[in-house]
């Protein structure tokens, strides 16, 4: 972020000036990035995932991750990508992880899940009570399609209706359906609570869709989103906006304080954004099979200027 150094302080400098050291509490969440293969190429993607990417987690790495989950006693396991639905052995990973954690969560872009080949995966998710976290950036078709690709809104709505029909998002079904809204551009996300109310009202009124909760996250200036920021002339303004919105009150609730992230190749990171920025945990490459247990409380978390995205406004928890 050399071009912006003169305009805002480095994230590390802000922490230093405020005498803050970002360290891990108890790592009770295991995040697994199963690979960069995706059926979409969203403009806000911090990983540059897409149909052209071939990186996916293989069976051996899945075994290593499952063994680590057994050692780590994580209360939650969060599976992300890319589109995890496209990973050939995802069912194997889900079955292996299910008995090892209280909450097993899968992030979905909805379109990958809607493919006819995913029927057995849907059945498995219901059987294992996998909580679903689905991308749904806006209740506006033009903004959703601008961010995620032409026709994605219609396919997402159809899939959400299908999920509702299967019980997802319905009261007392035990099948949790949460949505994630990332801004469709170079602006900060809206207040999460207010947006959840609005999305619930709009989704029910427009499409008869129900869901459990909504998360609003800032876009992280890495990967394809950073390229878009540069091309559209928004990079400097967006970085400055994030830095100006730095809120030290968010630090205690940052997800990296309670999480450890494992990439498709088994490399361990502090979070998925450090994975995108190629900053491994402790600053050096470490494979998940080498970890006897999760990093303990007090261990330093690697930071970069992209961390401003998680500390802006209400934060990214």
């Amino acid at each position: 972020m050399k071009e912006n150094i003169s305009k805002f302080k480095a994230f590390s400098q802000v922490l230093e000036e405020q005498e803050i050291t970002l360290v891990r509490d108890h790592a009770h969440i295991l995040q697994i990035n199963t690979g960069l293969l995706c059926d979409l190429a969203c403009k806000h993607c911090h990983l540059d995932a897409g149909p052209h990417r071939l990186e996916v987690m293989d069976r051996q790495t899945m075994d290593d991750v499952i063994a680590f989950a057994k050692r780590g006693h994580f209360s939650m396991v969060d599976i992300t990508g890319g589109a995890p639905e496209l990973v050939p052995d995802l069912d194997y990973l889900l079955r292996g992880l299910r008995p090892l954690t209280d909450k097993l969560m899968l992030r979905s872009n909805l379109t990958a899940l809607s493919d006819a080949d995913r029927e057995s995966l849907l059945e498995l998710m219901i059987e294992l009570k996998v909580a679903l976290v689905a991308s749904f950036p806006s209740t506006s078709q033009s903004q959703t399609d601008a961010q995620r690709g032409a026709g994605v809104m219609d396919r997402s709505i159809a899939m959400l209706k299908r999920l509702n029909g299967l019980g997802y998002g319905q009261p007392e079904s035990g099948l949790e359906l949460n949505l994630v809204a990332n801004p469709a551009g170079a602006f900060l996300p809206a207040d999460q609570m207010a947006m959840e109310q609005k999305f619930k009202r709009d989704a029910e009124r427009k499409w008869g869709i129900v869901f459990n909760g909504l998360f609003t996250f800032a876009n992280v200036p890495l990967g394809r989103f950073r390229v878009w920021l540069e091309k559209s002339g928004n990079l400097d303004g967006y970085l400055l906006k994030l830095a100006n919105a730095f809120n030290p009150c968010t630090l205690d609730g940052l997800m990296c304080k309670s999480l450890i992230s494992v990439a498709w190749d088994g490399t361990v990171y502090d979070c998925d954004f450090n994975l995108a920025a190629s900053i491994p945990i402790g600053g050096q490459h470490k494979h998940v099979s080498e970890l006897l247990e999760p990093p303990g409380p007090g261990e330093l978390i690697a930071t970069g200027d992209h961390c401003y995205a998680c500390t802006a406004g209400s934060g990214f928890t």
Binding site: S140, S142, F187, P189, A190, A194
Partner: protein
């Protein structure tokens, strides 16, 4: 001066207080209170402000409240409808004065 309106001038708004700080303080306190959540949400107020910004054709306000609407979670459809509301009122205000025209014309006409 090449342009009367420069985007970066929006950030200098507070400088208006340099010559009359007490008045500026009263204005900005009031302004902040107006846009806080009340009977209307801050998001709804930002949409009204966007419509008004178009009615008074203030480029600073259009810039500020476009961003504000987006960051408060309004979508482009809602924002476009707010602009149409402003347009309808402006257009309607012109058109309804046609009644004055007709009244005067009727008085003068046989």
């Amino acid at each position: 001066m090449e342009n009367y309106y420069k985007p970066e001038d929006l950030g200098k708004f507070a400088e208006i207080g340099e010559e009359a700080p007490e008045l500026a303080q009263k204005f900005f306190d009031y302004y902040g209170a107006v846009f806080a959540d009340g009977e209307l949400t801050a998001r709804e107020k930002a949409l009204i402000a966007l419509g008004v910004a178009h009615a008074v054709q203030c480029p600073y306000c259009i810039d500020a409240y476009t961003q504000s609407c987006l960051e408060k979670g309004s979508n482009l459809g809602e924002m476009t409808e707010a602009v149409h509301v402003a347009n309808a009122i402006r257009g309607g205000a012109s058109l309804v004065h046609g009644v004055q025209m007709r009244n005067i014309a009727q008085k003068l006409s046989m």
